[in-house]
């Protein structure tokens, strides 16, 4: 970047102050809700609404946790969310990278047609499928099960698309050389292709995990008992109550976001690439 004129320090000072104040306001707006969540989670229900509001974290965290566990079984709910999101991520990653590899590195009958249909489906809102999906799972007698939440989006077109784009960079000569050396196709896929795709796999895995961790409308439709609820569904069930305990709810909200935030701060680049789905490289 080129710095322009002679005495930039002085000349730009008022501009700089204006820019930084604008940015500071932005940062406060971005971050304050998180801070407020921590205040809420560590205080009794009424406290967060006291006037003037207290701006320091309280000591009621454990009580809120116990109450939250009593009302929605937070430990079980966190387990449900983690189990669903993790198994979805692993399975979907495998299925989508296998398909992406086929689209990128092989020619086979129907390849272009299938790929075109996958791309086309990205334009159709997911909600169109809700009612027939619900009927399928009623038919299978799988309402209120983990597989009902995990299965429908496993073949995630966008993830397949991303894996294909990334896998096109693998030199075909490398694969041919492995074949000449007598490596089987499965071996080539697991030992050569997937390991070279690690950065792309990480980004797609984060994308898939976040999708499922935050997924709301489908689990809301298909899960109907408290012990199967995922975090967003369990939290939404607390909102409907006439006497809302804000200490519990904000703690629940914090539980759904703080671990993700910690991971985000550690793996910023992969996270940004993952959440933006590869439209931007971290």
């Amino acid at each position: 970047m080129s710095t322009s004129t002679a005495n930039p320090q002085r000349k730009h000072l008022p501009k700089k102050i204006a820019l930084y104040s604008l940015l500071a306001v932005g940062v406060i707006i971005s971050i304050f809700p998180f801070y407020w969540m921590i205040i809420g989670a560590t205080n009794p229900s009424g406290e967060i609404f006291s006037i003037p509001p207290s701006l320091i974290p309280g000591t009621y965290l454990i009580e809120n946790f116990i109450n939250l566990n009593e009302s929605i079984g937070i430990l079980r709910v966190v387990f449900n969310s983690l189990f669903i999101a993790l198994s979805f991520t692993v399975l979907s990653l495998l299925i989508c990278s296998a398909a992406g590899y086929a689209f990128a590195k092989f020619t086979f009958k129907g390849r272009d047609a299938i790929f075109f249909i996958l791309l086309l489906s990205m334009m159709i809102p997911y909600h169109v499928t809700l009612i027939p999906l619900f009927r399928i799972f009623v038919e299978l007698n799988w309402l209120n099960t983990y597989q009902a939440v995990i299965l429908p989006q496993l073949a995630y077109p966008f993830a397949i698309f991303l894996m294909r784009q990334n896998m096109q960079a693998i030199p075909s000569t490398l694969l041919e050389a492995a074949r000449v050396d007598g490596a089987g196709e499965f071996r080539i896929f697991f030992k050569i292709v997937l390991p070279t795709m690690r950065p792309a796999l990480a980004a797609v895995a984060i994308f898939l995990f976040m999708f499922q961790w935050n997924n709301f409308i489908w689990p809301l439709v298909v899960l109907n008992s408290g012990e199967m609820y995922t975090l967003p569904v369990a939290l939404s069930s607390l909102i409907g109550l006439s006497d809302i305990d804000y200490g519990q709810i904000t703690l629940g909200a914090a539980i759904s976001v703080v671990p993700i935030m910690v991971f985000f701060l550690i793996l910023q680049k992969q996270f940004i690439a993952g959440i933006l789905g590869g439209s931007v490289k971290g």
Partner: protein
């Protein structure tokens, strides 16, 4: 395999031979795509088609039967459906331009040579994008509480009227827009920032030599160069807003007086509260058409002016 009969060698060798016959570079791609294609066919292609058929059906004693266009006719005479469309479009027309403008301003500011620590700012602005929509909505319920929320506390302490955020038809819409803007501005900003970094510095340098000021440079270089990326964020945000569900469901449950009822909320109510599958499917297909038309218009507008 037919030639297997001719093989009279050891069992183990036969096994490896048949394995090699089966998995070849010719057959392997089918094995690779099979799981994805199967799942996609069952859980996406079939539902998309089935939903279309359902939109011409109604439930009679548990069985679906054809009723022609009646669901669509009913839809075009349904005041609540129009209300949900108007609400959704109001949110779209106001929120998306405001958010994208904000995102462009932030991106340009962070890209400016005057600002340091842009890594920190980028992370701070992106942070809301890692929250679940449900979580973001819950935080805003607390921030925006009419009597005791901190936002009203701040407003009243600087001498302004308290706002009845979630209980007034007008302000409830504003509240939804606030959550969505908070959640997505940083996301769009990061996309735009990446776009800005691809704009050639030489353009700015030659413009400076020609004596063009910063503002001129912004309108004559930055915006035109960034247009494809802006278009991308606008199309994404439009599609997202048309499918708004989590935020109004949590924040206002569509109220007060259906003022924040969105199309997808109405679909959810018809489908899973009243179990009127045919009618809900018709709503879904009207939305498909609206999204297709809008995306097409936006992409056309985007490419025509080049």
């Amino acid at each position: 395999m037919s030639n297997m009969e001719n093989v009279n060698s050891e069992h183990a060798e036969e096994k490896t031979k048949t394995k090699k016959k089966w998995i070849t570079p010719k057959t392997f791609p089918y094995i690779l795509v099979f799981p994805a294609v199967f799942l996609f066919a069952v859980f996406t292609v079939y539902p998309v088609i089935s939903s279309f058929i359902l939109s011409f059906q109604a439930s009679e004693g548990g069985e679906m039967s054809f009723i022609g266009f009646q669901n669509y006719i009913r839809l075009f005479n349904d005041g609540l459906f129009y209300q949900s469309l108007i609400n959704t479009f109001t949110l779209l027309i106001i929120q998306v331009p405001v958010m994208i403008t904000l995102a462009i301003l932030l991106a340009v500011t962070l890209n400016s040579a005057l600002v340091r620590f842009n890594g920190f700012f980028r992370i701070a602005f992106f942070l809301p994008s890692v929250t679940a929509l449900v979580t973001a909505s819950i935080i805003f319920i607390i921030l925006l509480d009419s009597n005791y929320g901190i936002v009203n506390y701040v407003l009243s302490s600087i001498g302004l009227e308290k706002v009845s955020w979630l209980n007034d038809p007008f302000w409830a819409k504003v509240s939804i827009m606030l959550v969505v803007t908070w959640r997505w501005t940083g996301y769009n900003m990061v996309i735009l920032l990446a776009g800005l970094q691809n704009v050639s510095q030489e353009l700015y340098e030659s413009a400076s030599i020609d004596g063009a000021g910063k503002l001129r440079q912004f309108f004559h270089i930055t915006l035109p160069q960034l247009k494809p990326v802006i278009l991308f964020t606008v199309v994404l945000s439009t599609i997202g807003t048309l499918q708004l569900f989590d935020e109004p469901y949590i924040l206002t449950n569509g109220g007060p007086n259906n003022s924040t009822l969105t199309v997808i909320m109405y679909l959810y109510d018809q489908g899973f509260r009243y179990f009127d599958f045919g009618y809900a499917s018709a709503i879904a297909y009207v939305l498909v058409i609206i999204i297709a038309v809008l995306s097409w218009i936006q992409l056309r507008l985007g490419s025509d002016r080049d």
